[in-house]
């Protein structure tokens, strides 16, 4: 646990020499506890005191790498306070006890989900393979190998150190889950030897805390907290309490990412699993293990994740260019709007609902909404004309009708001047009116 102001004060020389720039040692100690100044500001600290304090100045939550992905490193409980840093990952649940046919089918189904949404690849990043204590090493290795053939990052859950060692020696694995109060030493040895992230669990938070402290004392800080169990209530409580203790109460032992297995909480119930995955995306699950991953699961869950992990200071942008909707071709009418992702989604959604073929032109407007970018000079007659030229719209599209967002109706005249070949039409103010507008226009 991090040191409180008073504990730090006890380690200071207590001379009130002011060399650190503070009136007293207590004032200095309080600031160090706040993280407002570094302990190095005091030139008189003993090496022993410094060693004791170094832990208190570490970030509250460690960043753990799983393959190419980073987890943890969060500093706030809610995104509006600053931002969330590392998005959660999804894992597909497999068990070595399943039949080969089942495993093949689940893998094949999940591998189909691989698409792009606003410049982000959406796919199952990890495969979680459960190997029960009674399973043989051969079977475990065979299933993990099969999973590894997908190229995704592999998480193996196995509580028997010898069995785990055989498996991770045979197949490249990124995370080994299964350390607890009873086996942590042996599991730690396996994970350390192979450089794996070690997943650790406990029957309750106290036991978990103790085990993590022991692992840290043994030099392992490459951990992930396995929020185990089949109780939804307990798992949710643990996910929140662990994150809160790490960020709000400076409980260093809990400053690690988490893994939650929703297949275990709602076996076979995919709709409830989707609800749980949504809950844990918002509330502190770092790897979410699901019983399956289809488009029905992925579309809402990945969309939600993309939303929640957007930096509130940086609006989400879509790539500028031509988006041909409802089978639009070179003879279809053009409509232009800004590259703010939300605008794009709402406008494209409404156009799709209308069924009218439209070439939606997305201009580079800095990722702001129509009015904001217009006010900032990023969405003007000049930038629209420049966009049409740079993206060679006139050579790609024969139609010469351009629909402007109603909110920038004032631009009509100027755009007509800059683009004399085009017929400029003012569209509705709100996207929701687009369906009727387009149907009437047609």
């Amino acid at each position: 646990m991090a040191l409180k102001g008073l504990d730090i004060f006890k380690l200071t020389p207590k001379t009130n020499c002011k060399d650190c720039g503070n009136p007293t040692c207590m004032a200095f100690a309080m600031k160090v506890a706040q993280g407002a100044v570094s302990i190095e500001k005091c030139p008189h600290m003993s090496p022993d005191a410094l060693r004791q304090l170094s832990e208190a100045t570490e970030p509250p939550m460690k960043t753990i790498a799983v393959g190419e992905h980073k987890l943890g490193g969060e500093t706030v409980m809610f995104r509006h306070e600053k931002t969330f840093v590392n998005k959660n990952l999804f894992a597909l649940y497999l068990c070595a006890d399943m039949s080969d046919a089942d495993i093949d089918a689940k893998l094949a189904e999940a591998m189909k989900v691989d698409y792009e949404r606003i410049s982000e690849r959406m796919y199952v990043e990890c495969i979680f393979v459960n190997v029960s204590d009674t399973q043989t090493a051969e079977r475990g290795i065979a299933v993990v190998k099969k999973a590894a053939e997908t190229g995704r990052d592999i998480i193996v859950r196995c509580k028997k150190p010898e069995l785990a060692k055989e498996i991770v020696s045979a197949v490249p694995v990124k995370v080994l889950v299964g350390a607890d109060a009873s086996n942590w030493e042996a599991m730690n040895a396996v994970a350390k030897e192979k450089g794996l992230v070690l997943g650790v669990s406990g029957k309750d938070l106290s036991e978990l805390y103790d085990t993590i402290e022991k692992l840290e004392a043994a030099g392992n800080k490459n951990l992930i907290i396995n929020i185990g169990g089949s109780s939804i209530k307990d798992a949710f409580a643990a996910a929140v309490q662990i994150r809160r203790a790490a960020l709000k109460d400076n409980v260093r032992a809990f400053g690690y990412p988490s893994i939650v297995n929703v297949e275990r909480m709602a076996p076979g119930d995919h709709v409830l699993q989707a609800a749980l995955a949504s809950l844990f995306e918002l509330r502190y699950g770092s790897i979410i293990v699901m019983g399956r991953m289809t488009y029905a699961d992925a579309l809402p869950l990945y969309g939600l994740r993309q939303n929640i992990f957007t930096d509130p200071q940086k609006p989400m942008k879509v790539e500028p260019g031509i988006y041909a909707l409802n089978g639009a071709d070179e003879n279809s009418v053009c409509a232009i709007t800004v590259d703010f992702a939300l605008t794009y989604f709402v406008v494209s959604g409404e156009i799709e609902r209308s069924g009218v073929p439209v070439n939606l032109l997305i201009a580079d407007a800095g990722g702001y909404s129509v009015l904001t970018s217009w006010a900032a000079g990023k969405f003007s007659a000049g930038t629209i004309a420049k966009f049409i030229e740079e993206h060679q719209i006139e050579s790609k599209i024969k139609n010469r009708t351009l629909i402007l967002p109603g909110k920038v109706a004032v631009l009509k005249g100027e755009v007509e001047n800059k683009l004399p070949d085009w017929k400029v039409v003012v569209g509705p103010n709100e996207a929701i009116q687009l369906v009727r507008f387009l149907k009437d226009y047609k």
Partner: protein, 314 residues
């Protein structure tokens, strides 16, 4: 050294608001912990789940399960009965889709007759949602509030433009509950509550509708607005944001591409119904996690899953 989690209770709390009357009443709000954090303090009232029906019928194209559920229910009252009987349903929401002057333009008198039949037919609280046409809703709500005067109905919603008339008729004249609707704008949400209370509407009669979005469609704004509202209510004891929050999830999620694109157009996406259910369920779960005290859903499978989720967290 044993670890003890520090419970985080607030001395401020969310207002409790009963909907419906007698044995059929359901109370939303209450509690003094962050959304769903029942490990900090047991739930006062769990979040409620409502089932939405419309006056116009069941939009079930491509949704065989939904169509089957309502099979044989040919009137709004019959559909309301089925909705009330849905596993996990706490209340029914009747949406007057057909009242929109830009659509069917059903007369206020016809709507009132439907509202009366529906409220009589069900043994659960009723929420009445309007046509989203500002002028029509004023008239519609006032007339419906009168015929349902002893039923403690919630009306969705009053907006900045029409809160005076809706507040005066529904809440002040007929003692009903009123939704205060803003579009994902926390300052306006607070302002509307201030204005409504200045009009004389008790905070105990106001339910906030903060606006929503489907998962993936700017939901970050929804989540942050709800979270900030709850933090202001609890941490800053902001009495103008302590009203419970209701979110009509279904009307947002069943209109996005993922929930309407037929399987024939997107074969790799699979079953349309399953996509719609999961979009609705994932969005509802995210709303509850962010701070919503009641959600309104459409599909029986989503209702069941969300009710199960809530029950599991208690």
């Amino acid at each position: 050294m044993p670890f003890t989690a520090k419970p985080r209770k607030f001395s401020a709390g969310i207002i409790e608001i009963p909907l419906g009357v007698g044995q059929n009443a359901v109370t939303i709000g209450g509690g003094n912990v962050l959304p769903l954090y029942y490990f900090d303090n047991p739930a006062k009232n769990p979040p409620a789940v409502g089932v939405e029906i419309t006056d116009t019928g069941v939009e079930a194209a491509g949704l065989p399960e939904l169509a089957a559920y309502y099979e044989g229910a040919n009137t709004p009252a019959e559909r309301a009965k089925k909705a009330a009987a849905m596993e996990g349903a706490d209340f029914v929401c009747l949406r007057f889709e057909g009242a929109d002057p830009g659509g069917l333009n059903r007369s206020v008198a016809d709507c009132v007759a439907i509202a009366k039949e529906v409220v009589e037919a069900i043994n659960k609280p009723l929420v009445i949602a309007g046509s989203k046409n500002l002028e029509k809703d004023v008239e519609l709500f006032s007339a419906c509030a009168e015929v349902c005067s002893d039923k403690n109905v919630l009306f969705l919603s009053a907006r900045e433009e029409n809160y005076k008339t809706i507040g005066a008729s529904c809440a002040l004249a007929y003692g009903q509950k009123v939704g205060a609707e803003s579009s994902v704008d926390i300052n306006l949400a607070k302002q509307l509550n201030v204005l409504m209370t200045q009009l004389g509407v008790q905070p105990q009669s106001i339910v906030m509708n903060l606006g929503s979005a489907a998962a993936g469609y700017g939901f970050e704004y929804v989540a942050s607005t709800m979270e900030r509202v709850k933090l202001a209510a609890l941490e800053q004891n902001d009495t103008m944001l302590q009203m419970p929050v209701i979110t009509p999830v279904a009307s947002e999620t069943w209109s996005v591409k993922e929930s309407i694109m037929p399987e024939s157009d997107m074969p790799e996406w699979g079953s349309l119904e399953e996509r719609g259910i999961e979009m609705e369920t994932v969005t509802a779960s995210a709303c509850l996690a962010s701070g919503c005290d009641a959600v309104i859903l459409r599909h029986p499978t989503s209702v069941k899953a969300i009710a199960a989720l809530i029950a599991a967290l208690l």
